[in-house]
Symmetry: C2
Subunit: 127 residues, 2 copies
């Protein structure tokens, strides 16, 4: 709630000094927060979250397996995997012409609570 241009909200940010302090805090967090946002953005696409989950469950999968499971075209799968790889959520291992994708350790840590959440949901609904 703005009173005047010189002061901000009565309730929370009563003066400019407090506002600037808060801004500085956000500036300090800019890079780490940005990298979390980036990872969440990647995981927040339903197709990609499914892929990440399947990679967690199976350990590693190739694009054509993911294509079969998810009933999607191979190029579509590949484009999503490319984003995950560029975002450091997955790693690749090539054997002949087959590429296997797997979660990075970091992405596993980041995503485990969310996988737990929706796998626990299913268990609960079965009870």
């Amino acid at each position: 709630m703005k009173q005047k241009k010189q002061t901000a909200c009565i309730r929370v940010f009563a003066n400019e000094k407090q506002l600037n302090s808060c801004k500085r805090r956000m500036e300090e967090l800019r890079d780490p927060l940005g990298s979390v946002a980036s990872a969440l953005n990647l995981a927040g696409n339903e197709v990609r979250l499914k892929m990440l989950f399947l990679l967690k469950e199976e350990g590693e999968l190739c694009p054509c397996d993911l294509s079969d499971i998810l009933s999607m075209s191979v190029p579509a799968v590949s484009q999503h995997l490319r984003k995950l790889k560029d975002g450091d959520l997955v790693t690749t291992k090539k054997i002949a012409q087959t590429v296997f994708y797997a979660l990075t350790p970091e992405s596993e840590i980041l995503l485990q609570p969310h996988f737990d959440f929706f796998t626990n949901q299913t268990v609960k609904s079965a009870l």
Copy 2:
């Protein structure tokens, strides 16, 4: 790696039965996984993650405070808040013409590990 139309990957999904079993599992998880994806998608936008974090830190804030802190226009802030509210990540309380936004308990649980991650990052880099 596809061998024939009738069988899938040699390495992981060696037959159609296994593939169908995996597909069924994904279908069971469709709704809970979808709702997690939806929340992550909302949080995965940098502006919105900043808002969610600020709401966690301050407890509640109005659009004009968020506008000041983030140096964004009020309508832009409002549009993001609308998405967060529709996605059940925030709740609203109105006092006169001022609306205060706050995290829902569920979003707090979902996001806390991520907030911890990037606030701990900052602490570590300060040491």
